[in-house]
């Protein structure tokens, strides 16, 4: 096909603008990576942009010697694993009955779920509830208040509805109960949706920090995000950055940067493998919701 001049100019502009936007996202990240590997003098004299100056790895060595870092990392891992387990179990169990054509009380329950997307009791009543339940300062306060996401539930319900009725009929003839039908037919047939929801829930648990700020005061239960926030915002860390004469071995900026990189690494490693599921999942939500 013949391409006009204006079309080619438009294409060129399009690629350029997209590249610029990509670099805007990339540069700050490269900057932090560079900071984590730069020497104290280079950082103090504002020489660091997007590549390391005065290369050092001491920031990472110090970070990896800090017990609090491992503790926080472990809390986040546990929270994510246990949280996602609860999330998926409850969401599947609830989506299955709601996906059926006939079920007494289905409309009522759906309305009850949808209303929580429009209106919530708010921060203080939720806090007081957890206090009454004795869940403050326990892992439960991070796991249970987000046990089912209304949005994810509706997504899975819609997905279950597209499972062909004939599959269920034949299973019933073979004498399968609802439990078998759910775990042996609906869940395997909905793997794209299940994978997406697992990832959504996992990201939520790994990233959320405000609930821990509100509900957790025991430092041993602080998740990684709170550890990182305390270090960046409150300059609160037990890591010794000076030598015995009081000289800075590394810049505090460098240690913060190293912690950011270490916290983001799991996401960056996992991300390329799961991107297509995410994208598919959002498309599902967009087309069906």
């Amino acid at each position: 096909m013949r391409e006009s001049v204006s079309f080619r100019v438009g294409t060129f502009l399009n690629y350029t603008l997209l590249t610029v936007f990509g670099l805007i996202t990339l540069f700050p990240f490269m900057h932090v990576l560079a900071q984590s590997l730069s020497s104290q003098t280079a950082i103090v004299s504002n020489q660091v942009t997007i590549y390391p100056v005065g290369f050092q790895t001491l920031s990472y060595e110090l970070l990896l010697k800090d017990n609090d870092f491992y503790q926080a990392f472990g809390v986040s891992l546990f929270r994510t694993a246990a949280g996602v387990g609860i999330n998926m179990l409850l969401t599947c169990l609830m989506a299955y009955p709601l996906s059926r054509q006939v079920l007494k009380g289905k409309g009522l329950i759906m309305n009850m779920v949808i209303f929580t997307m429009l209106f919530q009791g708010g921060l203080i009543p939720s806090f007081l509830l957890l206090k009454e339940l004795g869940m403050l300062d326990t892992m439960w306060s991070l796991l249970l208040p987000s046990a089912v996401s209304a949005f994810n539930l509706i997504l899975l319900k819609n997905f279950f509805q597209s499972v062909p009725a004939s599959m269920e009929e034949s299973a019933k003839i073979d004498g399968a109960g609802h439990g078998t039908i759910l775990w042996k037919i609906f869940v395997p047939l909905s793997l794209p949706a299940i994978a997406t929801l697992t990832l959504f829930y996992a990201v939520m648990h790994w990233n959320t920090y405000f609930d821990a700020v509100m509900y957790i005061s025991n430092p041993d239960l602080n998740p990684l995000q709170v550890y990182l926030r305390n270090m960046i915002v409150l300059n609160d860390s037990n890591i010794e950055m000076t030598n015995n004469t009081g000289l800075f071995l590394i810049s505090p900026e460098s240690l913060k940067a190293a912690t950011i990189i270490a916290s983001v690494l799991p996401m960056i490693i996992v991300y390329p493998f799961v991107q297509r599921y995410f994208v598919k999942g959002v498309m599902l939500g967009a087309l069906k919701g």
Binding site: G22, I124, L182, M283
Partner: protein
């Protein structure tokens, strides 16, 4: 229905209700009990007396916060930041989707998408941390400023920059991901429309303005309604990470205010009243926006 009919209708399904039970319990305990807890907004709640024993004071707290200068500031900040996010941030994902849709080189498209999507999966602690590092006195921006002989600026401590930082960092973090939904909508447009338009000599810009945009307008409207409903809820995770006492005057929003007054100063009833006001306005806004969308475009959320 008679007793026998009820029983036969119930029997094969009882296990389904058992499946529903944990989920429904979750919604009742963690979503509806806090709604009941809203009562304390009309009380002088004391933890020792409990919800049932505290004194009823009517609208006292609502009157108090409407007369409170700090609340007025917080309310204005929330509205302003929301408005900026809507005005500058809302069109960006649509633009990105339109641009990505025109990219024919698949390696370029894949790379761009990965770069655009990934910040969405960083927590606000991490992304905010990156922002703070890049804008700090020793950060990238100030390195560039000093390179050109300027004096470093303490961006995070200056009132005049704070709202821009919130809006721009939010755009960079979320617009790429938000564009997926528009890309999905665009991929659903019937290709024969474009072919017919090209036969009639339509240019690229005609295709975009007369086919693509009208075809995805319902998606645009729905997302606009959703964002309008959230106008008083800005995402506490972002602001709580980025703000500091130096910029409270321009950066404190309802969510952070409720947290500070409610949990740090333990004015439970007052903070609950503020939260109730916020939630109610959100509910009204989303109903109004939905009604308008239905009237003018024939499609809303429900």
């Amino acid at each position: 229905m008679n007793r026998k009919g009820l029983r036969t209708a119930w029997r094969p399904d009882w296990i389904l209700y058992l499946f529903l039970l944990p989920g429904v319990l979750y919604f009742i305990v963690f979503k509806y009990l806090p709604m009941y807890g809203i009562i304390i907004a009309f009380q002088d709640y004391s933890p020792f007396k409990g919800v049932s024993g505290s004194d009823f004071v009517g609208l006292k707290h609502f009157i108090r916060f409407f007369e409170d200068d700090e609340f007025i500031t917080v309310f204005r900040n929330t509205l302003l930041i929301s408005f900026y996010k809507l005005a500058f941030g809302f069109p960006v994902p649509i633009l990105i989707a339109l641009m990505l849709n025109e990219v024919r080189k698949s390696w370029f498209k894949r790379t761009a998408q990965t770069l655009f999507y990934i910040p969405h999966f960083f927590s606000w602690v991490i992304f905010g941390g990156i922002v703070i590092q890049a804008l700090s006195s020793k950060g990238m921006i100030n390195s560039i400023i000093t390179l050109f002989g300027g004096d470093p600026i303490l961006f995070m401590a200056e009132k005049e920059y704070f709202r821009s930082i919130l809006v721009i960092s939010d755009i960079i973090k979320e617009s790429g991901w938000a564009s997926i939904i528009y890309l999905a909508a665009i991929s659903g447009v019937n290709p024969s429309l474009y072919e017919a338009a090209r036969m009639d000599g339509a240019k690229k810009r005609h295709e975009i303005f007369y086919i693509t945009l009208p075809s995805i307008s319902s998606t645009i409207i729905i997302l606009f309604i959703l964002q309008l409903g959230n106008i008083l809820e800005l995402g506490v995770q972002q602001v709580f990470m980025l703000y500091n006492p130096l910029v409270y005057e321009v950066g404190d929003i309802i969510d952070t205010y409720v947290y500070r007054v409610g949990l740090t100063e333990q004015k439970y009833s007052f903070a609950t009243a503020v939260g109730l006001f916020q939630a109610t306005v959100g509910l009204i806004l989303i109903y109004v926006a939905n009604g308008l969308a239905k009237r003018f475009s024939g499609g809303g959320l429900w």
